[in-house]
Symmetry: none
Subunit: 217 residues, 4 copies
DNA sequence: TATGAATGAGCTTTCATTCAT
DNA sequence: AATGAATGAAAGCTCATTCAT
């Protein structure tokens, strides 16, 4: 009975191999054009085995969904647990996306191209995840409104959309143009620009307007 | 006035009918699951006629792309022609999306679910449109930086991503949750919230901070 | 009533135009891949008109068949009418093929690629033409056997096959390699070689064998 | 002997079954009208399996081509290896066709109706085979010219065309009229007639003309 | 566990043909 | 006579999935 453990590990290992192969192929070809055969080939196994481990193509997709959302939800929860300024929390979210893109670019790619929109795969069950994500983020926003960190004249839900949209926009561009971040400096520039605008706005501030010589750099 | 090209008109009419039917079906089922047969049925014609007018499913898709981007580009150009404050220009863009959603919800839906990401259909030729769009918007941002309307310490390209991402986020939610705008009031609330945050930021303003009882926890 | 003549001529003219266009396209693409649209385009008319004149693609094919076989049968009959040595008669047949290739290469091309074998189009009614052709040629052979011009220990039918096969072989090669005859000299070399071998055989003759120095040309 | 590769054998077996079914159906209907479904039905399998084994209809055709030409080339090479009189070599070629027609009539049928001409399937790659065949045969002819077995005043290439054309003519007739050889006697009569005419000519020989009582109109 | 032979639903596309104008 | 819009039969091919070994 205790012999099950090692084989269990081997099993997990295989499953992970297939999973990663699937991510790679789906990233490259898109979910629809990713054939089970391709995935098996990428994983170095026969295609029958994919069914052994994942049951069907749809289940494989669901496994990827799960992986993505679980990771994100965990990050959100961890973020929300601490009582930090909203700036810190939002920064954590942004970093989560950019860091994950460094570590598991395929997963982020798939999020952008297959999860985020892709009507082909949109089922109510799958949309549910988005709702949860927005709810969690909204909670952060609402909390910050209560502490007067964020303005309350705009619905927390709207703040959520604006914040997440701006973030997603960067991530999408990165992904779709296949541009890895050029070093941590660029990452910080993007992250701070994003947070800066969200929190303080894009408008040129009074101080500089006051200056008679204007922006004369 | 004197019916000069009657057959030509009828032709345009048919083409438009098929086009709209295609939008409807693609919106409902997604491009991949939209069969030519479905589109023909929706248009009340035989499937052969779809090929007569559009040549192939891919061409039909390209026609939709064209329709979408041309409309958007025209709107952008019109916007940019006038020398108005950046606020007005951005407002025009936002309104374009929301107004179009009132008039041609299918087209906007398809933009969100099939054009904006949907790796399956992403070809370099199609990505090109996005580049053009971002370039045009960036020009608006850069112009506003020069007139000191927008801060210059953040790249115009980044401002573009943030602005468009925020906008797209609202549109996507609307589309994916199948929520038409509940009247012009809601539309204005969203538009102004979006512009407000982008231009002035989400952070609680000085006035509230000034209050001695302020956020001091 | 006599006004019908000119329009009749115009009609014939159109029919001929379409016919030649059909030959051209069928030669280029093969019968199966030759679309009515292609033929109409080649003829500079609308495809509907092809149906006006020929009824269907099959009828068009039959018209070509007719044209081919009638020409050949006429040539054969003319040949057979005269009481000339068999050599002259066979030479006439060979020349018919080669001359026609100069004048109407498309027709000869189609004979080789679409009529001569091409199971796709082989119907009993069409095979019939071949029978007639072989019968007529056989008659020539049999006649020559009776006059002791040709040996009688080989069935006239067999002589027919051998003769026609040898001829067709040249024509096919010419057609399939798209090689027009390089001047009348080559044509005569081929024709005489063909007749020479058929009539006198390919074997080296006694006289040369007798010569001690052998083939010393 | 010890069933080493059972699955491999079964595989070969299946492939052969499909191949033969394809030959049968193509012979009956012609390549174009032979549907994959028909072939599968003939083979007693599902149409998907045809694709499993042959990839596409075109590949199936290529496999048949290969089978045909390889067999013929092998026969030619074997023939040419031995230093026999040209008569023997040519006889071997003729016998190859006739014997194969006994054993695999479908293959010969397909050669005549689909390979030999059939413009629809003629690609440069496929014409290449013909070139090779003619080259090999020409070599035999040229060799016989050098040994004074064949006359040298006619190009070896022309001799090739004449010989092969005559042969093909018999085979075609046999095939197109669906006439199996009526016993070995007929076969020999045809073979010897063919070789006789090719080598010695069809003309009535001197000896008979010398005879005073001859039919001497 | 692991393999890959076997199946067939499902889709796009072609193109001959019809027929209203 | 002439056009080309409209139709739909027909066929190839893909690929997820099943299952015997």
């Amino acid at each position: 009975m205790h012999r099950s453990e090692p084989s269990n590990n081997a099993k997990k290992q295989r499953e992970a191999t297939i999973f990663e192969a699937a991510c790679q192929v789906i990233r490259d070809k898109g979910f629809h054009h990713a054939r089970i055969t391709d995935i098996a080939q990428e994983a170095g196994i026969s295609y029958g085995l994919v069914y052994h481990y994942f049951g069907s193509k749809a289940h494989l997709y669901d496994a990827i969904l799960e992986e993505w959302w679980n990771g994100l939800f965990n990050a959100l929860e961890e973020t929300d647990r601490q009582s930090a300024p909203v700036e810190t929390k939002l920064s954590a979210i942004v970093h989560y996306f950019f860091d994950l893109y460094d570590q598991r670019p395929n997963l982020v790619h798939i999020f952008v191209t297959e999860i985020s929109r892709a009507s082909a795969n949109l089922t109510p069950a799958r949309l549910k995840f988005f709702k949860i994500f927005f709810d969690k983020t909204e909670k952060i926003m609402a909390g910050a409104q209560e502490t007067n960190e964020l303005r309350s004249d705009i619905k927390a839900r709207y703040l959520t959309y604006i914040f997440f949209g701006a973030l997603e926009s960067f991530v999408s561009t990165m992904v779709l143009e296949n541009q890895p971040l050029k070093g941590p400096a660029q990452k910080e520039r993007i992250v701070s620009g994003l947070l800066e605008v969200f929190l303080n706005g894009a408008r040129e501030k009074e101080r500089s307007r006051k200056q008679p010589g204007g922006r004369d750099r």
